[in-house]
């Protein structure tokens, strides 16, 4: 017998503190596998956010920094500019990236910073106990939208990939759900392409991963996976939004690949 699948290099042995069924752990694995495949483990620096993945420095076996809330792209910018031969990634939740950190992410993208951002969209603030995030869906129950998010009262959910799609400086942009092994495979390919974009010096790359927060959503982990498929995917369509720097003519760049 030979080993067909095992815990990848690039992750420490430390058991994660994530809730049962939380897909943060799957995202961690994909990053570690890709970094090993690309042969850059010894020169990778990760920036962890504020949110449930704040302790990512315990789980990734790379040099890690923990940024203040929403500032991971700014910290990653500094690291990459000072040490351009390092592979630098920011790992951010949707509260971190799309709420308090919206300015940092948009401007890092607009500057075409040669960094990779892994964006965990679980439609809620997990760490603080399930408050509404900018990505919370209409009708979704959270502790701060207890009657369900309603547009007249709480506004509309933000589609981050679509927002960044129009930003010149973005060289790679994709969104995939972490719901089933085939989708997880597509997410892995996207993460690989994002890091390859950085290694080729092409500019800013971001992969949005539709993720679960069973605890914040008040669901079992299996119900949460189905909720991503049935409710999140229709509003946050998966696919590759950009691969390669935008056409200077500004024409539509989207290609959806399933």
């Amino acid at each position: 017998m030979r080993v067909a699948f095992e815990r990848p290099a690039g992750l420490t042995d430390c058991p994660t503190h994530y809730c049962p069924g939380c897909t943060h752990g799957i995202a961690h694995r994909l990053i570690a596998e890709v970094i090993t495949e690309l042969g850059v483990a010894d020169r990778t620096i990760g920036v962890a956010p504020v949110g449930c993945s704040v302790l990512a420095y315990d789980y990734f076996d790379y040099d890690m920094i923990q940024a203040s809330h929403g500032r991971a792209p700014a910290v990653a910018t500094g690291v990459k500019r000072a040490l351009p031969d390092r592979t630098v990634f920011a790992y951010q939740g949707d509260g971190d990236l799309a709420s308090i950190g919206m300015a940092e992410i948009i401007h890092a993208a607009a500057r075409g910073e040669n960094i990779t951002v892994i964006f965990i969209n679980n439609a809620i603030y997990g760490m603080t106990g399930g408050q509404m995030a900018p990505t919370t869906l209409l009708g979704q129950l959270t502790t701060t939208s207890p009657a369900g998010r309603e547009a007249p009262r709480e506004g509309y959910p933000l589609r981050v990939a679509e927002l960044l799609e129009q930003v010149r400086g973005v060289a790679y942009l994709a969104r995939y759900p972490l719901t089933k092994p085939p989708e997880i495979g597509r997410a892995r390919n996207a993460i690989r392409k994002a890091f390859q974009t950085q290694l080729a010096g092409k500019g800013f790359s971001l992969v949005e991963l539709l993720s679960t927060c069973p605890t914040g959503w008040g669901m079992t982990p299996r119900e949460a996976l189905r909720w991503v498929e049935e409710v999140m995917v229709p509003y946050y369509p998966p696919g590759e939004f950009r691969d390669g720097p935008e056409d200077p003519g500004g024409g539509p760049s989207r290609k959806r690949v399933g």
Binding site: M1, F5, Y18, P20, H24, G25, I26, G185
Partner: protein, 76 residues
């Protein structure tokens, strides 16, 4: 029959995502508790395991190692 899908009981949080995706339907939660206090997932009929790795690729806690027969060693 050597095991194909090996579950590290102590890493398991009993989330059942492996059960959700196993095409053979052979992953179940054990009756006992692990040290964390979860019922760990386990494969009941190893002979039906095809080594597809779906459970392992779904496991957020990387509790599963999958083995496949070594074709060369088997002379196939």
């Amino acid at each position: 029959m050597e095991k194909r899908a090996v579950f590290d009981e102590e890493r398991c949080k009993g989330c059942e995502l492996c059960i959700e995706v196993c095409p053979e339907g052979i992953v179940h939660l054990a009756g006992h508790l692990n040290r964390k206090g979860f019922h760990p997932a386990t494969v009941t009929e190893q002979e039906r395991c095809t080594g597809c790795m779906f459970c392992a690729r779904m496991c957020p806690d990387l509790a599963i190692t999958v083995y496949r027969p070594d074709k060369r060693a088997a002379g196939a």
